[in-house]
Amino acid sequence: MVVARTELLPIRGEPEVVMVRQIVRAWCVDLKFSLVDQTKMVTAASELARNTLIHGGGGTVDLQVVEEGDRRGLRLVFEDKGPGIPDIPLAMKDGYTTGSGMGLGLGGSKRLVHDFEISSEPGHGTRVSIIRWK
């Protein structure tokens, strides 16, 4: 997989969650995603950016245009140095929440994208990588 373009954005506060949504939208438009695909990717980005902020205590998202063969997509890699997730399968379950949300953030955003990878080390942070192909 080739990374054609990349940009690293900080997520330190709520205004930056909104900014991540807007920049992800712009990149989806550049990639000529359909309106439904744009909306899915932006919504997944919003859920994960909020997780990074609330559970991870802030972090970054790396936006990447990726190419594999003749397909192109958008990859978003969210990283934080927060407390981490001790039980990932439990955290992925719909309705499971430790915060004030609905517990749809992780499981829900997985359903909105094509590739979803999560790794977490308790005490060291969490990394979530998603891809939506055009």
Partner: protein
Amino acid sequence: MERIPILRMGNFLLVTIQVDMHDRLAMTLQEDLTKKIAETGARGVMIDISALEMVDSFIGRMMSHISSMARILDAKTVVVGMQPAVAITLVELGLSLKGVQTALTVEKGVRYLEQAVTTGGGRRTNGRRPH
């Protein structure tokens, strides 16, 4: 502080969300709206989200909360104008907005509220609920 305006139209309150809301703004709207219902004795609330390009779980939860709080304050809520792409995404996200009444257009929303208010639960007198 940034706020979303709440307009009064007779017995109803109207909110049009035109900005990409951050979470605190959504919370403020929820508080402002419940306060306004209590103050004015409004019987219906219409939330126009036709300008919203995305509804995530936080905004969805806010809409559910507003509906529940309004119901406890004896007012009906209707969410109007959801874009089809937003609806598709919400369902895949796993949010069915149970308990939130929706309508496609503002006209249909007004009609729903008028009907719901005249048929549901009787009229309020002197701002008090009937016993």
